[in-house]
C-alpha cells in the first residue's frame, strides 16, 4: 500500500466519523420513528404553527440583517477604498473589531441598554426626557436585527472593499471620457462590476445571521421571537424530540445550502478577467466637506458596534446597581465573584482553551491531509474527499450538535456529555477552514521543490517533513488561528453538548445570563474578552516566532 493511499484512507475515515455518519444519522433520524419510516416529523416541522413561525422569523431576521449589512458595509467599503475620507484605518479597524466581537456579548450589552424596564437608554428616555414613546424594546425582531448586524456587516464590507479595489481604473475612465459623469459612471460601470461581491457578502451575512444561537436566545427568547436555532434548542427540553429536531435541522441546512449556492454563483461571476497592463488604481473621489459626514457615519457605526457593547459591559461589570447614576457606586465584587467564587469560570476557561487548541490542530492536520491528497496525488476519489470536507459550511452550529447527538447516542460509546464530543463538534464545524488554508498553503509550493528532494533520494515522509511542511507552515498557522479564534467563543454547538464538567466559556456566560445575574455576566463577559484577546496575541506571537525560525533554517 502506497503512502498516498494511507493518507487518503485516514482522511476519509476521519471525515466519515466527523461529518458523513452524523449527517446520515440526522437524515435517518428525521424520517424514521421507532424503526419505521415516517414523514411525520417533516409534516410537523412544516405545518406546526410553532415551527413555521420559527422558520419565518429566521428568514425575516436573515433578510433584514443582510439588507442592513449592505446599507452599512457598502458605503464604508466605498469610503475606505475610493474616497479621501479621513480616518480610513479607524473605519477598517471598526469593521474588523465588530467582526471579532462575540455576538452574544453584543446581545448582552444591548440588553443592558435597551431592556424594556431596566435598560439604561430606555430609562433615560422615559425618566429624563419623559418621552416613553421613544423607548426601544430590545426583546423583539428589531432588537434581534440590531444586535446581529454588527457581526455581519463586515462580510459585506470586506468583500465589497476588495472588489472596489480590484476594479481597474480604466473601466471607469472609459465611461468618463465617453461623457458619463460621476454618478452615471458609478451606476453603469462600478456598481454592476462590484454587485456580485456585494450580493455574495449579503448572502454570507444572511447565513451567519440565522445561525447565531447566542443572540437569538438572549434577545429573542425573552421577547418570544423564536427562530430555528432556539426552536431546535427547545426541542431538547425533557422529553427530547429527536425526530422533530432532526427534521427542523435539515430544513435549516437546506436554507443555508441554498444561500451558499447562490453566493458561489454570484462570486463566480466576479471573475471578470482583468487583462494585464498598467491599469492601476482609481483616483480617489474628493468628497470635499461631505467627507466629514461620511466619517460621522463611520463613527456612528463604531459607537453602535464597538464602543457601546464594550463600554456598557465594562460599566455594568463594575457597578453596584445599574441605573442612570451607576457611576456613583463602583465595585469589583462581580469580578471577585466570577473569578474566585464561581468555580465554573476556571473550568470553562481551561476547557475552552483546550478545546479551541485541540480543534484548531485537528482541523489543520485533517485539512493538510485532504489538501495534500487533492493537490499532490492522483488517487481516485480525491475530489470527492475535498467536497466532503466542505460539507460543514452548510451546517449551522446547532445542527452539528444535533447530528452528533443522534449519531453517538446510537452507539455504545459514552462520549455524550464529555469534552470529546465537543471537540468532535468543533473539529467538524471548522474543518473547512483547515482544508482551505492547507490548500492555499500547499498551492504556493511548487511541486518541483518536493520532486527535487525525491530525486535527491529523500523518501516521501522525509520530503514532507523537511520540505513541504516547513514551507507551508506560515499558511497552516494562519489556518490554525482562523479556527482557534471562533472555537474559543463557540456557543451554537456547545449549548447542546456541554455538561457541568465540560462547560465552555460561552456557555458559562450564557448560563449565568439565564439566571438573571446581569452584573456578574458583564464581568464574566469582560473576562472572556480579555482571555480571547490574550490568547490571540500569544498565539500570533508564538506563530510568528515559529515561522521566523523556519525561514532562518
Amino acid at each position: 500500500m502506497r503512502a498516498e493511499h494511507v493518507v487518503l484512507v485516514v482522511a476519509a475515515a476521519t471525515l466519515m466519523i466527523l461529518v458523513v455518519l452524523p449527517l446520515a444519522s440526522l437524515i435517518v433520524g428525521s424520517v424514521v420513528d421507532g424503526g419505521r419510516p415516517t414523514l411525520e416529523h417533516f409534516r410537523e416541522a412544516l405545518r406546526g404553527r410553532l415551527y413555521v413561525q420559527a422558520l419565518w422569523n429566521s428568514l425575516v431576521l436573515g433578510a433584514w440583517t443582510a439588507a442592513l449589512s449592505v446599507v452599512i458595509g457598502l458605503p464604508l467599503a466605498w469610503a475606505v477604498s475610493r474616497t479621501n475620507v479621513p480616518g480610513k484605518r479607524f473605519l477598517h479597524f471598526t469593521a474588523v473589531i465588530s467582526y471579532l466581537t462575540p455576538p452574544f456579548l453584543t446581545a448582552i450589552a444591548f440588553v443592558n441598554l435597551f431592556g424594556p424596564n431596566a435598560g439604561l437608554v430606555n430609562r433615560f428616555v422615559r425618566d429624563v426626557l419623559s418621552a416613553p414613546a421613544l423607548t426601544f424594546n430590545v426583546f423583539s425582531m428589531a432588537g434581534l436585527v440590531l444586535v446581529t448586524v454588527p457581526h455581519t456587516f463586515p462580510f459585506v464590507y470586506l468583500l465589497a472593499a476588495s472588489a472596489l479595489e480590484s476594479v481597474d481604473a480604466s473601466m471607469e475612465e472609459s465611461a468618463q471620457i465617453l461623457g458619463a459623469g460621476r454618478w452615471r459612471t458609478a451606476a453603469a460601470v462600478t456598481l454592476p462590476l462590484v454587485a456580485p461581491a456585494v450580493l455574495s457578502g449579503a448572502l454570507v451575512a444572511f447565513v451567519n445571521a440565522i445561525a447565531l444561537f447566542g443572540s437569538q436566545a438572549i434577545v429573542g427568547l425573552p421577547g418570544r421571537v423564536f427562530t430555528l436555532p432556539t426552536r431546535i434548542y427547545a426541542l431538547f427540553d425533557y422529553p427530547p424530540q429527536y425526530g422533530l429536531a432532526s427534521a427542523l435541522s435539515l430544513i435549516f441546512v437546506a436554507i443555508t445550502v441554498a444561500a451558499l449556492y447562490l453566493q458561489r454563483r454570484y462570486l463566480a461571476r466576479r471573475s471578470y478577467v482583468t487583462v494585464g497592463g498598467k491599469g492601476g488604481r482609481p483616483q480617489l473621489v474628493d468628497l470635499g466637506r461631505a467627507r466629514f459626514a461620511v466619517l460621522a457615519f463611520g463613527v456612528a457605526v463604531f459607537v453602535i458596534a464597538v464602543a457601546a457593547p464594550y463600554l456598557t459591559l465594562l460599566a455594568v461589570s463594575v457597578s453596584k446597581s445599574w441605573g442612570l447614576t451607576f457611576w456613583q457606586n463602583l465595585t469589583l465584587q462581580h469580578y471577585r465573584f466570577v473569578l474566585l467564587e464561581y468555580d465554573v469560570t476556571r473550568r470553562a476557561i481551561v476547557n475552552s482553551l483546550m478545546l479551541a487548541a485541540g480543534a484548531a490542530t485537528l482541523a489543520v492536520v485533517l485539512g493538510s491531509l485532504v489538501g495534500w491528497v487533492d493537490l499532490r496525488t492522483t488517487a481516485p476519489g480525491r475530489k470527492l474527499l475535498d467536497y466532503v470536507s466542505l460539507i460543514p459550511l452548510g451546517l449551522p452550529g446547532i445542527v452539528v450538535a444535533v447530528a452528533l447527538i443522534q449519531f453517538w447516542l446510537a452507539l455504545p460509546i459514552p462520549i455524550y456529555g464529555t469534552l470529546l464530543i465537543i471537540l468532535l463538534a468543533y473539529t467538524a464545524r471548522y474543518v473547512p477552514l483547515g482544508v482551505r488554508s492547507a490548500n492555499a498553503a500547499f498551492r504556493q509550493i511548487d511541486p518541483s521543490l518536493e520532486e527535487t528532494a525525491r530525486v535527491t533520494g529523500a523518501g516521501w515522509l522525509r520530503t514532507f517533513r523537511s520540505v513541504t511542511l516547513p514551507l507551508a507552515r506560515p499558511g497552516l498557522f494562519a489556518g490554525w488561528l482562523l479556527v482557534f479564534v471562533p472555537a474559543l467563543q463557540e456557543l451554537s454547538a456547545s449549548i447542546l453538548l456541554f455538561s457541568s464538567g465540560s462547560i465552555t466559556l460561552a456557555v458559562a456566560v450564557y448560563n449565568l445570563y439565564e439566571t438573571g445575574a446581569l452584573k456578574p455576566v458583564a464581568a464574566l463577559a469582560i473576562v472572556t474578552m480579555v482571555i480571547i484577546t490574550a490568547a490571540i496575541a500569544l498565539a500570533t506571537r508564538l506563530g510568528r516566532g515559529g515561522a521566523g525560525v523556519s525561514v532562518a533554517q
Binding site: 472609459s174 468618463q176 465617453l178 461623457g179 459623469g181 494585464g276
Partner: protein
C-alpha cells in the same frame, strides 16, 4: 478644429516631475505619437490631455477652448474626446453592442439612430454580427476593436490611445497598425498615440514627439527624427547608432580618425578643433574590402572585421578600426566577409549627425 496646444505644462507627483515645462502643438487631423521609454511622462501627458489630471503649471487648449489650467480643468466627460486603453477596458458586464452604444446613450441619441451608428462602426472595425456577444470571452484583438468602436462611435474630434497594441501578439499588432493608420486617414480624427515602441511610432505617425524624463526632446516626421536626431538620447532611442569620436575641422566639416572628412551641418557654437561625436546608423556605413585588386586605403578608415552575423536580408558586423574604435555596420547580404578581413569604412555624410561631447 481639433488642434491641441500644450503650453509649458508641468506635472509633479510629490518630489518627481513627470512632465516638465512641455510645449507641444498637435495639428488638426494629425497623427502624433508620444514616444519614449517607460517613465518618460508620455502617459501622464496623455492623461493631462484627457483631463484625468490637472497640470501644476501651463495650459492645454483645444481649438479656441482652454481645457486645462492649474486652477480649472474641464472634466473628461465634457471634453468630447475618445480614449483607448492598453488593457482595452471593455466592460465585461455589457455586450459588444451595449459597450459601443454607451457613449451615444449618454448623449441621449435616439435609439434608432444608435442602432444604425453602432452597426456602422462595428462594420468599420470588422466586428459586424458580434453585437450580442460578451466581449470578455473574445480575443485580445477583438476586445481592442470593441474599445476602438466604442471610442469612434461618438465621432470624437480627438482620439487618445495609450499603448493600445502592446497586449496583442506580434502578428496581430502588425495588422492592427495598418488598420489604425487606415482608420485615421478615413475618419480624419486627430490621433494622439502613446507608445514605447519606436517601430510602431514610425509606422503610424505623421509626427513623432520623443520624450525623455518629462521633457520633449524632439518632434518631427519619422524620417527626420530617425535620420537627424536632435541629440544623443533621441538617436539612441530611435534605433541602433554608432557614436564615433570626431573633430571639427571647418565650420561645416568634421574629421574622423584624422583622414576621413565629412561635410555636414554642425550644431551651433562649435569651434575648430573641438572634439565632437559623430552619430551614424549601421546601415549608413559603407564597407569596402581592402586588398586583392581593391584600392588600398582610398577614401575611408581602415580596420578589420571583428564579428560577422548573416541575417538573411543583411549582414550585421562589427569593424574594429585601427585606432581601436568599434563600428557596427549593416552591409548588403551579398558581401562575403570573414573575421580578420581588412576593410575600409566610409560614412554617409547626409545620414550622419554631430553632437557635442
Amino acid at each position: 478644429m481639433a488642434e491641441i496646444r500644450i503650453e509649458r505644462v508641468t506635472k509633479r507627483f510629490g518630489a518627481t516631475t513627470a512632465v516638465r515645462a512641455l510645449t507641444l502643438e498637435v495639428r488638426d487631423r494629425e497623427f502624433v505619437t508620444l514616444l519614449g521609454p517607460s517613465g518618460c511622462g508620455k502617459t501622464t501627458l496623455l492623461r493631462l490631455i484627457a483631463g484625468f489630471m490637472s497640470p501644476d503649471e501651463g495650459s492645454i487648449r483645444v481649438g479656441t477652448a482652454t481645457l486645462s489650467t492649474p486652477g480649472s480643468v474641464v472634466p473628461p466627460e465634457q471634453r468630447g474626446m475618445g480614449m483607448v486603453f492598453q488593457n482595452y477596458a471593455v466592460w465585461p458586464h455589457k455586450t459588444v453592442y451595449q459597450n459601443v452604444a454607451f457613449g451615444l446613450e449618454v448623449r441621449k441619441v435616439a435609439t434608432s439612430e444608435i442602432r444604425a451608428r453602432v452597426a456602422r462602426v462595428l462594420e468599420l472595425v470588422t466586428l459586424g454580427g458580434l453585437e450580442a456577444r460578451y466581449p470578455a470571452q473574445r480575443s485580445g484583438g477583438q476586445q481592442q476593436r470593441v474599445a476602438l468602436a466604442r471610442s469612434l462611435v461618438v465621432e470624437p474630434s480627438i482620439l487618445l490611445l495609450d499603448e493600445p497594441l502592446s497586449n496583442l501578439d506580434a502578428k496581430l499588432r502588425e495588422r492592427m497598425r495598418w488598420e489604425l493608420k487606415e482608420l485615421q486617414r478615413r475618419t480624419g480624427i486627430t490621433f494622439v498615440y502613446v507608445t514605447h515602441d519606436q517601430s510602431e511610432a514610425m509606422a503610424l505617425s505623421d509626427r513623432i514627439a520623443v520624450m525623455h524624463l518629462g521633457e520633449l526632446m524632439q518632434i518631427g516626421a519619422p524620417r527626420e527624427v530617425y535620420t537627424h536626431p536632435a541629440n544623443r538620447t533621441v538617436a539612441d532611442f530611435m534605433g541602433l547608432v554608432n557614436l564615433i569620436p570626431a573633430r571639427v575641422v571647418r565650420a561645416d566639416a568634421v574629421a574622423v580618425g584624422g583622414a576621413h572628412t565629412l561635410t555636414l551641418t554642425l550644431p551651433p557654437r562649435v569651434a575648430d578643433g573641438q572634439p565632437v561625436q559623430l552619430a551614424i546608423r549601421p546601415e549608413n556605413v559603407r564597407l569596402v574590402p581592402i586588398g586583392r585588386g581593391a584600392p588600398a586605403g582610398g577614401d575611408g578608415l581602415p580596420g578589420k572585421v571583428s564579428e560577422v552575423t548573416f541575417l538573411g536580408n543583411l549582414t550585421d558586423c562589427y569593424v574594429t578600426l585601427d585606432d581601436g574604435t568599434r563600428v557596427r555596420v549593416q552591409a548588403e547580404p551579398g558581401l562575403a566577409l570573414e573575421i580578420g578581413q581588412p576593410v575600409a569604412v566610409r560614412f554617409d555624410a547626409d545620414a550622419a549627425s554631430v553632437f557635442d561631447v
